[in-house]
């Protein structure tokens, strides 16, 4: 599960299985109690109730039950986890894992049993809004509290047993099983997208056979998905990795060619897919695109230059409002009704200036102060747009409405009524943003950003004007964010101060960190996964049932990422080196890549000071 666990250790030895009676009872109790607590917490947030409306497999399993059912499995699996240390043998899995898993799972299930009892006997609906008989009925499958108490003990035990049992399987089988489960869930989550796409190419019957009418996979569909995934995983394991490694080892022109091929392929997919899917899915894609654009912009500031900007939404807002004021006929004070692309020039100039204006005072501050002050600026900008004082310019709380579309040489107009065109527009700007990030990272400026991120004092001493370099990152990020804002104004057709809450900044930050700071692909993947599946601050994702909980999940995700995988989902090589320098050096040492001092010299005692 964690990095240390899957890391192949050259020195691992296998020892006989641990005996069941050597069970670490304290650990078991702690793990079980944690799992039980999580179960109760999750239930009291009403997550299972909402997610029950979303079937995974028709009439068999809903996302809600899956969510609480998977916790005992995880608990059962975790109990058998062994810390791998060099030279310490690894025990083979055996009865220890099975018994421990079952017990841990039972404890986890007991959390829900306890909850059923508590709900039956106490009423604390005030203040806990979800403390309801409905929750009790859901938890006890409408068959009374006694059944509820017992069934969760049972489910917990079975789940824990399964979780512990997973450790007994050979790696290959385990991986195959997990892939199968994952693919089935994924297929259920991506239902809207898949149905739309499959119907788009004229295979509607397939989609109907695969998915049940009221949502979720049909039993047969689930079976087929699992089977395909299982076969692919069992026999195809490592092929993907090998292919990637092959591309990575290519040199010179061959590498360029491979890259160009990949880029063309991606571009082709991006152009064709919107043609096949309906407007609901296109809307989703456009929303994801807007956030990709924002995240790429923030990535330059946070990921490349290492400046934690919490007020990034300010540039989104300024871009939106500038575009709105310049293009809308209804703008209160000035309404030149410029064409969108002309307005875009002003958007760039004005956001650039605002970026300088905000950036100049904060850029010399130490990192954490900078974060809070940019947050302050983000809020000030919103408050100014909202204020009566400037309402003559920006419409105050009423905002600016009836913003026209983007006219393209009189051929077509892109506006919110046609999300496909919006998506294409976003796509163009995403391509620009990707190109800009990619080129800048590999230039003199990109190197300077890296140096500043690593050690600002030394970077300054090596002749880098750190203030200017950081300011430039700030402004480039601001301008990319403003593009997103300008498109947003035309997509929605209106701008209100309430669209630019600090919340938006936070969501973009989560996207960047989840995807991997400094990694273009990571950031795109992060936006696609989070915004596409869970949804943006106001935009629905594929799991609309999640909309009440998505911010909660974002928060938890941010914490969890920082603790477990700070380099993100798809990290940039450099960032992971920064964050795991010791582990990296250990690995390099194992591969014989770290040199020792040439002769037996003095102990380099000051080496680690820097």
């Amino acid at each position: 599960m964690t990095a240390t666990e899957t890391r192949p250790s050259a020195l691992a030895e296998f020892a006989p299985p641990r005996r069941a009676r050597d069970l670490d009872w304290r650990r078991l109790a702690r793990l079980g109690a944690t799992a039980a607590f999580v179960q109760m917490f999750v239930s009291l947030t009403a997550m299972p109730v909402r997610l029950d409306e979303r079937p995974v497999i028709e009439s068999l399993l809903s996302l809600g039950y899956l969510f609480i059912g998977v916790i005992p499995v995880i608990a059962g699996n975790r109990i058998g986890r062994q810390v791998k240390l060099e030279g310490v043998p690894i025990h083979r899995a055996g009865r220890y894992e099975l018994l421990g898993g079952t017990l841990a799972g039972t404890l986890a299930g007991a959390g829900l049993s306890l909850l059923v009892i508590l709900i039956t006997h106490f009423d604390i609906r005030e203040p806990l809004v979800n403390w309801s008989p409905q929750l009790r009925d859901l938890l006890s499958f409408n068959r009374g509290p006694v059944f509820g108490v017992l069934i969760w003990l049972g489910i917990g035990a079975v789940g824990g047993l399964v979780g512990g049992g997973l450790r007994l399987l050979p790696t290959r089988w385990r991986r195959t099983l997990l892939t199968m489960a994952f693919v089935v869930v994924l297929a259920a989550i991506l239902e809207q997208l898949v149905v739309d796409l499959v119907s788009g190419v004229g295979l509607e019957p397939v989609a109907e056979w695969f998915y049940a009418r009221r949502g979720g996979l049909t039993g047969a569909g689930a079976g087929v998905a699992a089977a395909i995934a299982g076969v692919a995983s069992f026999f195809g394991r490592g092929r993907l990795k090998a292919a990637r490694a092959r591309i990575n080892t290519l040199e010179g022109p061959a590498r360029t060619k491979a890259n160009a091929g990949l880029i063309l392929l991606t571009a082709a997919v991006m152009i064709v897919v919107p043609l096949l899917v309906g407007s609901l899915t296109n809307e989703l894609l456009a929303n994801v695109g807007l956030f990709v654009l924002l995240a790429l912009g923030l990535n330059i500031v946070v990921g490349l230059a290492g400046i934690l900007d919490l007020g990034y939404v300010a540039f989104f807002a300024v871009g939106s409002y500038t575009a709105a004021v310049l293009t809308a006929a209804t703008s209160p004070r000035i309404n030149p009704e410029l064409p969108w692309f002309v307005a875009l020039i002003f958007v760039v100039v004005i956001t650039g200036l605002v970026g300088l204006f905000i950036g100049a005072p904060v850029i010399r501050m130490r990192g954490d102060y900078l974060a809070i002050v940019t947050l302050g600026f983000g809020e000030i900008i919103r408050l100014l747009f909202l204020s009566d004082w400037l309402s003559g310019w920006f419409g105050g709380a009423q905002g600016i409405t009836a913003i026209g579309g983007v006219e393209i040489f009189g051929i077509t107009t892109i506006d919110g009524t046609n999300p496909r065109n919006i998506f294409y527009l976003v796509l163009v700007f995403c391509a620009i943003a990707i190109y800009v990030s990619w080129r800048l990272e590999r230039s003199r400026l990109g190197r300077a950003w890296m140096a500043v991120r690593e050690d600002e004092t030394v970077a300054e001493a090596m002749g880098i004007n750190t203030v200017n370099v950081k300011l430039l990152a700030f402004v480039v990020g601001a301008i990319l964010g403003s593009f997103s804002g300008a498109i947003f104004a035309n997509k929605v057709g209106s701008v209100f101060p309430s669209s630019f809450l600090i919340l938006v900044s936070m969501v973009i930050l989560v996207v960047v960190i989840f995807g991997g700071m400094g990694s273009i692909i990571g950031v795109i993947a992060g936006a696609a996964l989070l915004i596409g599946v869970l949804g943006g601050p106001k935009q629905p994702g594929l799991l609309q049932e999640f909309s009440e909980f998505k911010l909660l999940i974002y928060g938890a995700l941010l914490v969890w990422m920082m603790l477990a995988r700070p380099e993100g989902l798809i990290p940039s090589a450099r960032r992971s080196r920064e964050l795991h320098q010791e582990e990296f050096l250990q690995d390099a040492w194992l591969r014989g890549q770290v040199e020792a001092d040439e002769e037996a010299g003095d102990e380099p005692e000051t080496a680690e000071r820097s």
Binding site: R444, D455, E460, D597, A607
Partner: protein, 270 residues
């Protein structure tokens, strides 16, 4: 080292206070072009503070620092580097997660000028400059033989051994194309063989690259072997200066090293 030429670096009545503590007090120093000067003194004598003051990393309370006839006061560290003074740090401070090549490439920042525009449109001037940056970087690395070049170029600096980190730091300083190089204990932590080799290289730095060099060192054999002139600091003040033989016999110097005098005597004997 002709006596008539104007000094490259001229420090007049320099004061650096840290909240009442006078780390450097009324210091007067001159360094001429092509000169190798070593700065010695007991711990806390203000040697590193002197370097920090020259490279604008600590505020100067009084006096003046002039380089090539104009003052350095009021400049940012990057501007000092741009004027032609580069430095290394006592506790090696590399960009450890950047590659070895990138370390020397980034140091040429102030000597190059292509900005975002060139990078975005991949202009001919941009590509030419990138090639030049790389070539100059490799040249600086090549000064240390085969240690830092070849397959090592694209490895992160963190894999380097301690001695090679010191070498890379010097190469990075060289890459800023300075006229004056400030080396803060360049051989600290090296074994005798490495330290002797680096001592030779310091001499070559002047001959081949034309740098003037000021270095702080505790290893008296290095001081003896390469310096044209030795400056002795004590309590932030200039104790004495002169060639190695004079300085090492100076009773005040020996007294300043009180308790450490054996070091200097050993060095004299060896």
């Amino acid at each position: 080292m002709s006596a008539g030429a104007a000094p490259l670096l001229e420090i007049r009545d320099l004061d650096v206070d840290f909240g009442g503590l006078k780390a450097v007090n009324g210091l007067n120093i001159e360094v001429r072009e092509g000169e190798i000067v070593s700065v010695i003194g007991p711990n806390g004598a203000g040697k590193t503070t002197l370097f920090n003051a020259i490279s604008a990393m600590v505020p100067v309370t009084g006096g003046d620092i002039r380089f090539e006839g104009s003052t350095l006061l009021g400049l940012d560290p990057n501007q000092v580097t741009a004027r032609g003074i580069a430095r290394t740090f006592q506790n090696v401070r590399l960009f450890t997660n950047m590659t070895i090549l990138e370390n020397v490439m980034v140091a040429q920042h102030c000597r190059t000028k292509r900005g975002a525009f060139g990078a975005l449109f991949n202009t001919r001037a941009f590509r030419q400059e990138e090639d030049e940056i790389q070539a100059r970087g490799e040249k600086a690395l090549g000064f240390f033989g085969s240690r830092l070049v070849g397959f090592r170029l694209n490895q992160p600096a963190s894999v380097l051994s301690y001695a090679n980190r010191r070498r890379l730091e010097i190469a990075r300083a060289m890459a800023t194309q300075p006229k004056l190089l400030l080396l803060d204990e360049p051989v600290a932590g090296m074994n005798p063989v490495e330290s002797a080799e680096l001592t030779g290289l310091i001499g070559r730095l002047r001959e081949e690259w034309g740098f003037a060099i000021v270095f702080i060192e505790h290893d008296m054999s290095v001081v003896r072997d390469v310096s044209d002139r030795v400056i002795v600091l004590n309590h932030g003040e200039l104790l004495t200066e002169g060639d190695y033989a004079d300085v090492s016999m100076d009773p005040r110097v020996i007294e300043a090293y009180l308790g450490q005098d054996t070091i200097i005597e050993d060095a004299i004997k060896s």
